[in-house]
Structures are given as structure tokens and as C-alpha cells.
């Protein structure tokens, strides 16, 4: 198996194996899993092979590439073929998420695990239907039960959620602080002269206002 003299050949063999795995897989494959499946010497070796592959696709002007998403690697077509492929899948593509669905998804993503009541407290409206949609689309799932009265279900985002938004992991999302900061730029009128009373210390750790 360990053919010292064939180092160069082994490397391209690994690349082809990775290519085959990613081609056959319908979900992102973690580098660790690829390492285990191929028997590569290290995850680092796998990552470098993926790098070589993507560079090769780019240089040879292919219509696809390998992206890192949801903690793994996956083949995708390039954005420029979006409308062409959309024609192929005409009518089969799932609808975009609605504004309420996006809001609810955002709340779950940042506050998970969270109960329906807590989500509704933030949005100020009933979220039954929206949650059902998100669960049906496998973006959110029940992850446990809370301690409150009636032991409410707690919801969290799924791996599919990361895939759906094309995120490598949660660090790909802006932090709550970043989102808040956006507003002080957007609507500068609202910059408070004095720190608003009761906002800096009294809350339950869910909200903090930055004092500048």
C-alpha cells in the first residue's frame, strides 16, 4: 500500500478518490470522514487535495467547484449557470422562505434551543404555522424539552439549515452585536444621549445595548 516511490501518483489517486466521493454524495462530506474513507494520511492532506481540485476546476474553466458548507465539502455548480439550471428544475424548486419564516429561523438560529412561547414573545405573533413549515423543510427540529410548565418543546436549527444558507458553520453568521451596530449606522437619529434606563443590567442576558 505504502509506495514511497509513487508519492506523486498517490497524491493524484487521493484527489480522484475525493472527487469520486463528493460526486456520489448527496450531502456535504466532512474532511474527517473523507480522511477515514480514503485512508489518507491526515485531514490536512485531504484539505490540500481539495484545494488542488478546486484550483484545477478553476484553471480548466469547469462549470462546478467544491465548496465548504455545513462542516463538510460538496460539489456545486457555479452561480453563472443559475438561470440555465433553474430552467431544468422549473417548477420543482422549493419556494423561498417568507419574511415570517426567515424571522423565526433567525430567532431559532441565534437563541437555540428555544421554545415556541419564547419565539412568539420576540416576534409578538403566533408562530405555530411558521414553525411547522420550518420543521417540514428540515431547517428546524425539536431538540428537547424545557423545564417550564408542561415541559415545552425546544427547537434548534438542523445541519440542513447551514446547508440551506450555504454556511460553513455558525461563525459564518453575523453576531448579534454586529446586527445591532448596523442600526446605529442606519438610523443615526436614534442614538440615545443617555444610556436608556434599565437596558444595561436588568435583562435576562438576552439583550445588551452597547454604550459608546
Amino acid at each position: 500500500m505504502d509506495n514511497e516511490s509513487g508519492f506523486e501518483r498517490d497524491e493524484s489517486r487521493l484527489e480522484r478518490e475525493i472527487e469520486a466521493l463528493l460526486f456520489a454524495s448527496d450531502a456535504p462530506l466532512a474532511a474527517g470522514k473523507i480522511t477515514a474513507l480514503t485512508g489518507a494520511a491526515s485531514t490536512k492532506q485531504v484539505l490540500s487535495a481539495i484545494g488542488t481540485l478546486t484550483a484545477f476546476y478553476r484553471e480548466s474553466n469547469r462549470s462546478y467547484t467544491i465548496i465548504e458548507v455545513a462542516g463538510g465539502y460538496q460539489f456545486t455548480t457555479l452561480p453563472e449557470f443559475s438561470s440555465l439550471i433553474s430552467r431544468l428544475f422549473k417548477g420543482k424548486k422549493k419556494a423561498k422562505l417568507t419574511q415570517p419564516a426567515l424571522e423565526t429561523l433567525a430567532i431559532v438560529a441565534y437563541k437555540q434551543p428555544i421554545s415556541r412561547m419564547q419565539i412568539e414573545a420576540i416576534r409578538g405573533v403566533n408562530c405555530d404555522g411558521v414553525l411547522a413549515t420550518l420543521i417540514e423543510r428540515d431547517l428546524v427540529s425539536i431538540s428537547g424539552r424545557g423545564d417550564g410548565i408542561g415541559k415545552p418543546f425546544l427547537y434548534s436549527t438542523t445541519k440542513k439549515f447551514l446547508e440551506y444558507l450555504g454556511l460553513k458553520d455558525f461563525r459564518d453568521l453575523p453576531s448579534i452585536e454586529e446586527l445591532e451596530r448596523k442600526f446605529t449606522l442606519d438610523i443615526a437619529v436614534e442614538k440615545p444621549l443617555v444610556p436608556p434606563p434599565g437596558t444595561s443590567s436588568d435583562d435576562n442576558g438576552t439583550y445588551q445595548i452597547k454604550e459608546q
Binding site: A24, S25, D26, F75, T76, T77, P79, F81, S82, F89, K93, K96, L97, Q99, P100, L102, E103, L105, A106, I107, Y110, A121, I122, R123, G124, V125, N126, I135, S141, I142, R145, G150, K151, P152, F153, S156, T158, K159, Y164, L165, G166, L167, P174, I176, L179, E180, K182, F183, I187, V189, E190, P192, P196, P197, G198, T199, D203, T206, Y207, I209
Partner: protein
């Protein structure tokens, strides 16, 4: 002909308030409550005139606004400002928090857009694999037997429990799926661990049967009478419906 339109522009009372705040360039930390209440009610009135469906939450908010307004009219003790909370605090906190998540939703929408422009490989039929040799098929009776022992080990329900949330088979399937997302296999008895009502145990059991039927779950055991393991079908195992009801 009467017709009803669902108002999608404002998803809820907080959404409407944020709109008014932005429109009238109001300082969110110092909301002129009587002005905003007036504007808010005017909006609801228009919505009703247009025969738009006004959700109950809009009226709840209207009531809160009026409560805050009346509280603001009460004389406040000078010098006690620090201790005395502004009646608007809660509302401002809610608005700020909601606004943050609205912003997050916008960011999600942009990412969704980007992602929808690229396409990935979709599911390919999995090649059939040999049954792992160290496990045996199980029948519905094995599962029922396991359920019986779960019932036997059931803890007495706690007496203080009010309003147990009813759970459907679909919801339970979600729970089991979440378990299997974290780990590739789970012990049959593990799914019943914790303080559940008998009803819930039965729902869990039905969920397991349903998942086996749908090929989302494979139940196997190492030997007759040993622990039953539930697996996610896929690489390493295979979709297996033998022994389940309705095949």
C-alpha cells in the same frame, strides 16, 4: 362581494410599530407614546376599513400602548428616577430585540439568494449492502416486548404537572430524527427515558413503527432478547422493513 386579504406587509404589531418609528423618525429610546398610539390605532382602523384581517395580537398591542400611555400620565416621584422604571422600557426592549432579528432575517434572505443560485448533487439511490452479520432482524413482537418493559419501568407521573403538552406522532418523529442526527444509532429504551406520560410512550412507539415503515429507521439487535438498537439507514446499514407492520 366581501373578500379578505391577509396583510403581509406588517407581520405583527412590533413590525407595524417599527414602521411607524422609522417613518416618523422617532427616537426608539424615547418614544412619544401618545403620538405612536394614535398613529398605531389609525393604522388598525384603516386595516379594518379595508376589511383586512387584523390579527388579535394587534389589539393586544393596542391595549398595551394605552396602558403605557396612562401610566405615563401618572405623576412620577422626583429623585426616585433611578429606581422607578419607565413604563416604556419593556416595549423598547421588545422592539430592539425584534429589530435585531428582523435584520438577521434580512441577512438570511441574502444568503438564501446566493445559495439558490448554485446547485448541488441530489440524492442518488444507495446500493444495497449486505446485512451486518452480527445483528439479527427483529419482529414487531420484539418491539412490543421492549415496549412492555418500558411500561413496567415507567415512573409514576409527577403530581404537580399541569397541562401536559400533547405530542403528535409527527413531532415525535422529529425528536427521534434529532437524536439520530447527533448519533448514528440510539438504544430503543433511550427514546423512552425521562418522565413521560403513558400516552407519550405510546406516541413514541408509534413514531418508531412509522419511521421503520417509511424506511427512516432500522431496528436491529445483537441477539434474541438483547437490547434493541435503532439506526439511521444509509451507509453501513440498509433500508430494511422486514418484521415491521405493513412491510
Amino acid at each position: 362581494m366581501a373578500y379578505h386579504v391577509r396583510l403581509t406587509q406588517f407581520e405583527g404589531p412590533l413590525d407595524l410599530l417599527l414602521h411607524l418609528i422609522r417613518r416618523d423618525k422617532i427616537n426608539i429610546y424615547d418614544i412619544p407614546i401618545s403620538h405612536i398610539t394614535r398613529e398605531y390605532l389609525a393604522y388598525i382602523e384603516i386595516m379594518q376599513e379595508l376589511e383586512l384581517e387584523v390579527a388579535g395580537e394587534f389589539f393586544v398591542m393596542a391595549a398595551s400602548l394605552m396602558r403605557i400611555k396612562s401610566q405615563m400620565l401618572l405623576p412620577r416621584h422626583e429623585g426616585l428616577d433611578e429606581a422607578e422604571a419607565d413604563p416604556r422600557d419593556e416595549l423598547v426592549k421588545n422592539l430592539l430585540e425584534y429589530r435585531t432579528f428582523k435584520e438577521a432575517a434580512q441577512c438570511f434572505a441574502a444568503k438564501e439568494d446566493d445559495r439558490r443560485r448554485v446547485f448541488t448533487r441530489s440524492a442518488v439511490p444507495l446500493p444495497e449492502e449486505e446485512t451486518p452479520e452480527d445483528t439479527t432482524d427483529i419482529t414487531l413482537f420484539d418491539l412490543l416486548e421492549a415496549l412492555q418493559s418500558v411500561f413496567k419501568n415507567m415512573k409514576a407521573p409527577s403530581l404537580y404537572r399541569i397541562m401536559p403538552e400533547s405530542i403528535t406522532v409527527e413531532q415525535k418523529i422529529e425528536v427521534i430524527r434529532a437524536h439520530l442526527d447527533k448519533r448514528s444509532e440510539v438504544l430503543f429504551t433511550e427514546l423512552f427515558a425521562g418522565e413521560f406520560t403513558k400516552m407519550e410512550l405510546i406516541v413514541t412507539f408509534l413514531a418508531i413503527l412509522e419511521m421503520i415503515k417509511l424506511g427512516q429507521l432500522v431496528a436491529r439487535q445483537l441477539s434474541d432478547g438483547s437490547d434493541i438498537w435503532l439506526y439511521k439507514p444509509g451507509i453501513g446499514s440498509y433500508i430494511e422493513a422486514g418484521g415491521s407492520p405493513n412491510g
